[in-house]
């Protein structure tokens, strides 16, 4: 089973960041003298890069579509303003998602410390 809604939410971002960090993790393992499945690590990192590209492409396409007047109607903002709005929306989404993920992960660490202290 997959808990949550796969693809959407902060889960997508969480796995994206962790997949991109895999080669760095490989370096750390190598330094400890462990065998590292480099091919697999880079494959997952490349997949994450592909997902990032997909997200960027979707945002870019959406901006272009809205700017040209979505659904055939002329854009009330004009092309330049619509592109600016799309960029702003994209940036805001990224900031909110990253902020939420950071807050959730920080809460987990705090909860861990509290549980450990109460034991």
């Amino acid at each position: 089973m997959t808990a949550g809604i796969p693809g959407a939410g902060i889960g997508g971002l969480f796995y994206l960041v962790n997949a991109l960090l895999l080669p760095l993790r490989g370096l750390r393992r190598r330094a400890r003298g462990e065998a590292v499945p480099w091919r697999e690590l880079f494959r997952q990192a490349a997949l994450a890069a592909g997902i990032l590209a997909g997200i960027w492409l979707a945002g870019w396409g959406l901006g272009l579509w809205l700017g040209s007047g979505a659904g055939g109607a002329p854009s009330p903002l004009g092309a330049a303003a619509a592109a600016r709005t799309a960029r702003l929306l994209g940036a805001a989404t990224l900031v909110v998602s990253c902020g939420t993920l950071a807050a959730v992960l920080l809460s987990v660490q705090l909860a861990r410390l509290m549980v450990r202290r109460s034991r």
């Binding site: 809604i5 693809g7 959407a8 889960g11 697999e40 997902i51 997200i55 979707a58 959406l62 809460s107």
Partner: protein
């Protein structure tokens, strides 16, 4: 007859062919593995499951089918195929109950749990055994893909699994913590299984319960993507509803049960927290906030939020599908994934509301196919 011991303790034994005078002896490799197949009214699917076990490149030493007081001829089918059939005095009420009925009979180093509706790729068992060269590993699981991909729900599940097993689960394994060793097909070190008390009936997701218990006791779990199994997934909403109800309640029950212990396991704590957040908050945004915002602002384009991540979903799904030569099937199935995802969100919200807010724990085990 020859016998040797490989690093994974696979015994090579020459099995006499059906006509020894005319045919060369076929070399069969046996592993110290007992297969447990819990079954309740599974006569239609059990035959394929047992056949796929018999076709393994490495043969298990014992095959046990727990006929959980079926009202069909499940037991007779299993017996006719050479399985050891156990029948509890009364229906155990759950898959975990049936598995626990068989566990005391296991005398081998490893135990494999397979659902009665699941078939295995011919090398699945051999590939899972490779993980146990590491003595810290107590459980190993593989890739799960629906056997039938025809209905809306099967197609949705096909894409969901491709996404999860191609991307999420591989990342989890690289961090040493696959979230769940799938209940439909997992291999366990029998001693570790006994040490943690086997499969518990305290939640509706016994596989998640067992996996998280193993982590808390210091055991390792591995995911081996090349070991593939094929369960029958719900083909209609009637069965899907049962399965999603069981999974969503099981997830919430496990979070409630294990949260203190899970907090001490690196990566697992973050993965569970993120899953819980998505199951609750992202589901709420998906089902309530987005349509409310579209109505309030009178802007239907906001509903594009439901499919804005299509390209992000497509990348891992196509990567997995291309390797299997199933790109067309995956592309055709993508719309169904977005329908299933919405339904998933409804079930997770309902489960969280019942379990966490109303304090109504759902305990009835309903078969999902």
């Amino acid at each position: 007859m020859t016998a040797s011991l490989t690093p994974h303790r696979v015994q090579r034994v020459a099995r006499p062919a059906a006509h020894p005078r005319h045919a060369p002896q076929r070399r069969v490799r046996f592993a110290p593995v007992t297969v447990i197949i819990p079954a309740y009214n599974e006569s239609l699917s059990l035959r394929d499951t047992i056949a796929s076990v018999r076709a393994q490149s490495v043969q298990p030493a014992e095959l046990i089918v727990v006929d959980d007081c079926s009202t069909d001829d499940t037991g007779a089918v299993a017996e006719s195929l050479g399985a050891t059939v156990l029948r509890p005095p009364a229906n155990t009420g759950s898959k975990a109950g049936a598995q626990m009925f068989a566990l005391p009979m296991v005398r081998t180093e490893f135990t494999i749990a397979i659902d009665a509706d699941t078939t295995l790729a011919p090398d699945a068992l051999e590939r899972l055994l490779a993980a146990f060269a590491d003595p810290a590993v107590a459980a190993a699981c593989g890739t799960v893909l629906p056997r039938r991909v025809a209905s809306l729900w099967e197609r949705g599940r096909y894409v969901e699994y491709l996404f999860a097993f191609e991307y999420y689960k591989r990342v989890q394994d690289h961090y040493g913590v696959p979230l769940i060793s799938s209940g439909c097909f997992s291999l366990y070190r029998t001693a570790a299984l006994h040490a943690v008390g086997g499969w518990s009936q305290r939640t509706l997701a016994e596989d998640m319960d067992l996996t998280w218990t193993l982590y808390q006791r210091g055991y390792g779990v591995r995911f081996l993507p090349e070991a593939v199994c094929y369960p029958i997934e719900p083909h209609d909403f009637h069965f899907l509803r049962k399965q999603l109800r069981r999974w969503s309640h099981g997830f919430v029950q496990n979070v409630r049960l294990h949260w203190r212990g899970v907090l001490q396991v690196p990566f697992l704590r973050s993965a569970v927290a993120v899953s819980l957040w998505d199951a609750l908050i992202a589901s709420l945004v998906y089902l309530v906030v987005l349509p409310a915002l579209a109505l309030w602002l009178r802007n239907p384009w906001l509903l594009l939020g439901y499919v804005i991540d299509v390209p992000a979903v497509l990348v891992p799904v196509l990567a997995g599908a291309l390797r299997r030569g199933e790109a067309g099937r995956a592309l055709l199935s993508v719309p169904a994934f977005f329908v299933l995802r919405t339904v998933n969100a409804v079930f997770f919200l309902r489960a969280a509301w019942a379990e966490l807010v109303r304090g109504q724990s759902f305990r009835t085990y309903e078969k999902g196919h």
